[in-house]
């Protein structure tokens, strides 16, 4: 061909030639995404967080509900990797064993180094637990060599419960309970927004008025009222799950409007008209021709919706309206850090807050990167 394209220059010279030519939408997006360093880091962070959440029982060294009266407000212990002893230096992770002492004058409890080392081993034996509620085992990712010795990576709370284990269990709840709500928002938003934009006219008017009505509802009072009206006999997770479902009935409106706008713009695009002239049915036009153009945008807005759900959970639980103990979530854990004592005596109770910030930031960076990469044909 004499007219080989010079537009390819703008795409990505590193994947020049044939590879770009047969690259699908997904591949182009992925190449664009890979150039976004922060988004890649965020993807790793989120991936690790979900792995930790999935394998929480296996990774957590202790039962999160187990109280230890001898470890109240135990400070975090530093994990050492290089063991220097008479035999030389080895890579062998250990903790310094802590001794509980009481100040003779103030009677305040302090923990001091005892000089004894507690060694850790991978896949050691810990307390018994049910993995995913399915089978009993006592193998942990890492455990002390002497099962009776405990260690507190993130310290312990006022009942001597291991914060690290609690944070892991909290991650599981906080990062998953909103997902169902997000998915429902997505389905509703895409369907109703798509119908509204594609068919237009009266249907469009009705759906748009509905969106305006829903948007005018005050969310937080409704949420609180619902939390109060649900049967108290339900388990706490079920109650909260129902609340997120109802919140998602409000949450779809934003996405619905965006999808409607895109459908309105796209339905007169030449390639859609061409499909209609080909004789394609309405559903084929929508699902085969129009929706694929939106997938990347939908994924991006999904990624940006998850942190909102996380923040909502944290905020409500912190105020005492969302999840309540004995449930464990980041918000519930932070509620423990509400008073001045924790700030002065046990600042490690704020560690769940760090996780909230990390998760929300990572999701936002990831969503940002996806949105930039979503349109590989732009600019």
């Amino acid at each position: 061909m004499s007219e080989t394209s010079e537009q390819n220059l703008s795409l990505n010279p590193e994947n020049s030639g044939k590879e770009v030519a047969i690259a699908s939408q997904f591949q182009l997006t992925w190449w664009a995404f890979k150039r976004h360093k922060i988004a890649i880091i965020a993807l790793w962070v989120i991936g690790i967080m979900y792995l930790l959440a999935i394998f929480a029982e296996f990774v957590a060294p202790d039962n999160p509900f187990k109280q230890n009266r001898r470890a109240v407000y135990h400070p975090p212990q530093m994990l050492h990797f290089i063991d220097t002893s008479e035999e030389g230096r080895h890579i062998r992770p250990y903790f310094w064993k802590m001794k509980r002492e009481r100040d003779p004058e103030t009677l305040a409890v302090t923990y001091v180094k005892s000089g004894e080392k507690i060694y850790l081993r991978l896949f050691g034996k810990g307390p018994e637990y049910k993995f995913w509620g399915l089978w009993e085992t006592n193998i942990k990712l890492f455990a002390t060599e002497k099962p009776r010795e405990k260690f507190f990576l993130f310290g312990a709370d006022r009942m001597g419960r291991d914060m690290f284990s609690r944070v892991l269990y909290g991650t599981r709840i906080s990062m998953s309970i909103g997902l169902v709500g997000v998915v429902i928002s997505l389905v509703l938003g895409v369907t109703l927004g798509g119908i509204s934009g594609y068919f237009g006219g009266r249907v469009d008017a009705v759906i748009q008025r509905l969106i305006e009505f829903v948007l005018s509802l005050p969310t937080i009072p409704i949420w609180l009222a619902l939390a109060a009206s649900l049967p108290p006999s339900w388990p706490i997770y079920k109650q909260y799950f129902v609340i997120t479902l109802i919140v998602s009935l409000v949450g779809w409106t934003e996405l619905g409007r965006v999808v409607r706008g895109r459908f309105l713009a796209m339905k007169n695009d030449d390639f859609v008209v061409a499909a209609r002239l080909d004789g394609a049915s309405e559903s084929r036009i929508i699902f085969r021709h129009m929706l694929p153009s939106l997938t990347s945008h939908i994924i991006a807005s999904l990624t940006l919706a998850i942190p909102l759900m996380i923040l909502a959970e944290t905020g409500l639980s912190f105020l005492g309206f969302g999840l309540t103990p004995p449930a464990i979530s980041w918000g519930v854990l932070l509620k423990e850090a509400q008073n001045i004592i924790s700030i002065s005596q046990a600042p490690w109770l704020f560690i769940p807050g760090g996780f909230v910030v990390l998760a929300v930031l990572s999701f936002n960076f990831l969503g940002d990167g996806m949105r930039d990469a979503a349109d590989p044909y732009g600019h």
């Binding site: 007219e3 010279p13 008209v273 499909a275 002239l277 080909d278 004789g279 049915s281 021709h289 044909y377």
Partner: protein, 568 residues
């Protein structure tokens, strides 16, 4: 006059010397301009010609030292010598510094392609011109306003005292471009850079703008650098020609020299493409005389109603298609020509029933498509296909070429999956594409190749009639003829009839047996193409034809320009 030395008349006012420019990408430097050199002279128009992507616009930006990031000028000089006293190297100036800002807009003016987006929508035209004047001239606001009015008068905008307080959206396309010229010339620059200033305009408006630029140049003795891809426009206005291809200057010289004795292969290719378009195609197969009518349009009308307010009252009615009638024979090509807004595209879409016309008859082989139901329409659309203008917008970027071409076959259940690959590869080779490319996505193809894919999709169902809506206007000239030749060849092979919508008279002449001239929703004249071109009857046709640039510099100025101003 500022010139004092004897030889300043021949020394260039601006010299581009060995300019190298590249984009600093992550993967390294991608060179865009490879050592280009040319000169601009006072009172002369230098046309920079080349196809899209050849580096014309970036050269213009480099002269103003406004190279967009990540572009950098790697070597070379741009010497600006406005009064013969000393040369300023524009590339060595700080792109944000005061000296270059004094030159931009003050000594070197610029006109852009798209007059709508280059004028601010929230300031009056007058405010925008006075701003430029006050930036570069030490005058008070009142004087600046007077100068702005004078500038508008100079570009022949009627009632300049009133027009100065209007906004850009109250101007028509041609008026906006005049206002842009007025703005660029308001400080009486020594050099005017015009980047495709007429490409977005209708032929009739283009002709007026070109006339205006010529007369202003005579008045102000400005050096003009005129960027265009249209060899016809070049023949109309150029004194010097610089031909660019892929960032190289492949040929430069006097207009007559370049047109009469082109040296470089690429220049020859460009010129042949233009000259071939100035006559009917030699390979054209005429329809036989006793051919049946394939399509009869009677009194077709479509009104767009603008509804406003709560009760949806009709406040305005636009007659997009207003009582159009014509016949089309089997194997015939009917051209529909007219300027933008004349309703030609709407007419095409009405016939394919993309739009629903209000009244009239669309008789397709005895069947009235106005009355047809959905399934009958689906049957007809297998035999009546459409080709769209923009090959970038009409292909779904998420599907491979194979999927795109197979789509109509699958939908209409004309092929099973096993045969599909073979059918698609036959069609691809029919339109001159390599069948091995069927797994590729549209983004891997150039504009001309994409248009071939669009054509392949259209012929996949073996249609009888193709409605082609400006199929070549988004393409470069040299590719334009290739695509037209492909359509002609397919017409000969498959006995296709065409409704060919275009604003370009040359393309119509090359391709069509008959032509209908549309103006404001109506056909004002219809007949054999050659007859209409040689002896137009309607005043609008005369105006349209007299505006088409003649791609021959020796015939410049031999033709009388007609203007058509209906009383409404």
């Amino acid at each position: 006059m500022r010139q004092t030395l004897m030889d300043t008349d021949t020394s260039p006012i601006l010299q581009v010397q060995n300019l190298n420019l590249g984009f600093n990408m992550r993967q390294g430097m991608v060179n865009v301009l490879h050592g280009i050199s040319f000169d601009l002279h006072r009172g002369k128009t230098t046309c920079v010609v080349g196809e899209s992507g050849s580096g014309k616009s970036i050269t213009a930006r480099a002269i103003l030292n406004m190279v967009p990031r990540p572009g950098t000028i790697n070597s070379g000089q741009i010497l600006f010598n406005p009064d013969g006293s000393g040369q300023i190297n524009l590339t060595s100036l700080d792109p944000r510094g005061k000296p270059i800002r004094k030159i931009r807009g003050g000594r070197i003016g610029m006109i852009f392609q798209e007059p709508m987006s280059s004028l601010s929508p929230i300031h009056t035209i007058g405010n925008q011109i006075t701003e430029v004047i006050q930036l570069h001239r030490n005058v008070d606001k009142k004087t600046a306003r007077q100068m702005a009015i004078a500038a508008l008068a100079q570009v022949e905008i009627p009632k300049p005292e009133k027009a100065v307080d209007r906004y850009a959206f109250e101007y028509s396309g041609g008026m906006r471009q005049r206002a842009m010229i007025a703005m660029a010339l308001s400080c009486q620059p020594d050099v005017l850079i015009a980047d495709e200033p007429t490409t977005a305009l209708d032929v009739t408006t283009q002709a007026e703008i070109l006339d205006l630029m010529k007369s202003l140049q005579r008045e102000l003795d400005t050096a003009i650098m005129f960027i265009t891809h249209d060899m016809g426009v070049v023949a109309e206005i150029a004194d010097e020609v610089v031909v660019m291809e892929k960032g190289h200057v492949v040929e430069k010289g006097n207009i007559h020299q370049v047109y009469n004795a082109p040296q470089h292969v690429y220049t020859k290719k460009l010129l042949t493409a233009v000259k071939r378009l100035n006559q009917p195609a030699s390979t054209k197969v005429r329809p036989c005389t006793q051919a049946q009518n394939i399509l009869q349009i009677r009194d077709l009308s479509l009104r767009f109603e603008k509804k406003e307010g709560f009760f949806q009252r009709i406040t305005d009615v636009t007659k997009a298609v207003d009582g159009v009638s014509f016949d089309l024979k089997e194997g015939e090509s009917l051209g529909i020509v007219g300027e933008s807004g004349s309703g030609k595209t709407t007419l095409g879409r009405c016939i394919a029933r993309v739009y629903d016309p209000n009244s009239g008859v669309i008789n397709y082989k005895g069947q009235d498509l106005m009355q047809a139901n959905a399934s009958a329409l689906r049957e007809t659309r297998k035999r009546m296909r459409m080709i769209f203008q923009d090959p970038f917008a009409s292909l779904n970027p998420r599907m491979t070429v194979k999927q795109i071409i197979a789509e109509p076959l699958i939908i209409n259940k004309l092929a099973n999956l096993a045969e599909l690959e073979e059918i698609v590869s036959t069609i691809l080779s029919q339109v001159g594409l390599d069948p091995n490319m069927m797994e590729r996505y549209p983004h891997a193809f150039s504009g001309g190749q994409r248009q071939r894919i669009v054509i392949a999709r259209a012929i996949a169902l073996k249609p009888e009639l193709i409605i082609a809506d400006e199929p070549t206007s988004a393409l470069d000239v040299s590719i334009r003829t290739q695509v037209l030749d492909l359509l002609l060849q397919l017409q000969a092979e498959m006995g296709l009839s065409f409704i060919f919508i275009s604003h370009d008279m040359a393309v119509i002449r090359y391709f069509c047996d008959r032509v209908a001239v549309m103006y404001r929703g109506q056909i004002v004249e219809i007949g054999e193409t050659e007859q209409i071109i040689t002896s137009p009857q309607h005043p609008y046709t005369k105006a349209l034809l007299s505006s088409v640039p003649i791609p021959d510099p020796t015939l410049r100025g031999t033709r009388q320009r007609h203007r058509y101003e209906p009383d409404s």
